[in-house]
Symmetry: C2
Subunit: 303 residues, 2 copies
């Protein structure tokens, strides 16, 4: 089953040619989860051929425009596409008022319901779960309320050992075995142990999205060991003062956090427009943590 | 002096690869006037190398998202660029509430003032004038309040005939002559007639922007003889019913209006995403009015 992240935008607040505002899609199975939604995210989704009618959950980190101004256009296009299923939007309080005002003043009621869930950006807690993933908030420290999101795949099914299976099991019996259940006869006696005909499932995968924030060592505990960590790095470390003033991190700090948290891979993004060349940011992060990549437009990381 | 129009977006509500939401810039002299501001207009301005710090007036036709969702990002970027001069925004009532809510909920006060002017979309009237242009509303008939804008260049200066000018005129005297004033001595007697040393100024140029609307013959009187008319044509005429239901026009109707109004040139735009190939729309309009062009991204028409 797919578990992959596609980067739609790498820019910080000031966009530039070819560098767009923050948005990402985590695809689990056939389910795309949209994470932040900077201006023109719908155009990025079209470019990446991601069918956005399939999106059911959107996670907004904070209310700076470069992280959510694309929501209005996306909602409108979903309406025009004839969507009827509700859309769930997670984000800081205030976003619902913005959306409601917009829709009312422009006289465009939507065909579908928007279920807005205000998240507490100060706490690390489970906010959503479905058959595929659990999603937790990650408190960020920025200039306004802001949180990241941690996606943990639900435990996967055990794998069937075809050569060890007796013939003529029903689909229901096969399903039970992959869930780790033994098969019993009418008297309740086990006649087939799941351990004998299945192997351990692959480990659940995880992705942590750390949006705009100053460096916080406390994050390391919350994202320990994740398969993929995204951490913003708006500046090089030589601009640490500016990073702290504006509520951002440096490339070195992103690398430090990844090392401290013993994650498997690091993605860095949200680059200041002062950096036309991103290699110095990548090099700086890699000196702290080698398995680092630039989170640039169109990059897909498959876990 | 420049008087030219640049098209930033040709799409109607549903965007597609390479076709963006409506926005245009009319540049008069060094002054860019922004007309509508669909999502990601700031990226289009960057692509076209239009310095948007110079924009002082924005004209919004109506509150469907494909005509104004780019305003938020643009306002934010102007703030980050350190703008301090006020920005004037003309548009239907309601836009001010949307902007105010957005700025308040996202905790981002701007460095500069936004002077919002609510326009009466039902009337044809002068709403703005500066040294370069006069701007009038053009009532549209759409699903929500909507107006177009008519730009009329201010009368230009008479041209000096160098060979006919006496030596040693002061700059002030030359200026007076180009304004059509005669020069007089201290006793009030004319000693140099402007007619003898200047020629008639070139005719003022004009541009009419007809945003989303059904066909209205009454528009012809308001835009009679303009140098350039933009008229939406969302559909081919075979879809006239759909055009009327959705408050739009057909390519044939755009051509008919241009012919009826005896304009010099016609631009058609706001194409439905059902038309991958725009040639049929162009051909249909040209059968009514030959000097027609497609208003596609990056097109610049110099008048």
């Amino acid at each position: 089953m797919e578990f992959e992240l596609t980067i739609l935008g790498s820019a910080s607040a000031t966009p530039m040619l070819g560098r767009h505002h923050t948005a990402q899609v985590l695809t689990v199975g056939r389910e795309p989860y949209l994470i932040d939604c900077g201006e023109a995210t719908q155009e990025r989704l079209i470019e990446q051929r991601i069918r956005f009618g399939r999106i059911n959950c959107v996670f907004i980190s904070h209310l700076h425009g470069d992280h959510f101004f694309g929501l209005f256009g996306l909602l409108g296009t979903l309406h025009l596409q004839g969507r009827t299923e509700p859309l769930r939007i997670f984000g800081p309080a205030g976003l619902d008022e913005i959306l409601t005002t917009q829709l009312r003043c422009s006289g465009t009621p939507l065909n579908y319901d928007v279920d807005f869930v205000a998240v507490d950006t100060e706490r690390h807690q489970l906010i959503y779960a479905d058959q595929l993933v659990q999603v937790y908030t990650l408190p960020m420290r920025h200039r306004i309320p802001c949180c990241g999101y941690l996606f943990r795949e639900q435990p996967r099914r055990r794998r069937l050992l075809k050569e060890a299976l007796p013939d003529s099991l029903t689909p229901e019996q096969l399903q039970a075995l992959t869930r780790g259940e033994d098969l019993r006869d009418e008297a309740g006696h086990v006649w087939l142990r799941h351990h004998d005909v299945t192997t351990e499932p692959p480990a659940p995968r995880s992705y942590a999205y750390c949006s705009d924030t100053v460096y916080q060592e406390s994050l390391a505990e919350l994202v320990r060991g994740v398969d993929l960590l995204y951490h913003e790095c708006t500046f090089l470390h030589e601009m640490l003062d500016r990073a702290q003033q504006t509520g951002h991190s440096t490339a070195r700090q992103a690398g430090q956090l990844a090392r401290l948290a013993e994650v498997k891979q690091l993605l860095i993004g949200h680059f200041s427009s002062r950096y036309r060349d991103l290699q110095p940011l990548l090099s700086e992060a890699r000196r702290e943590f080698e398995p680092t990549q630039l989170a640039v437009e169109g990059l897909t990381v498959t876990l």
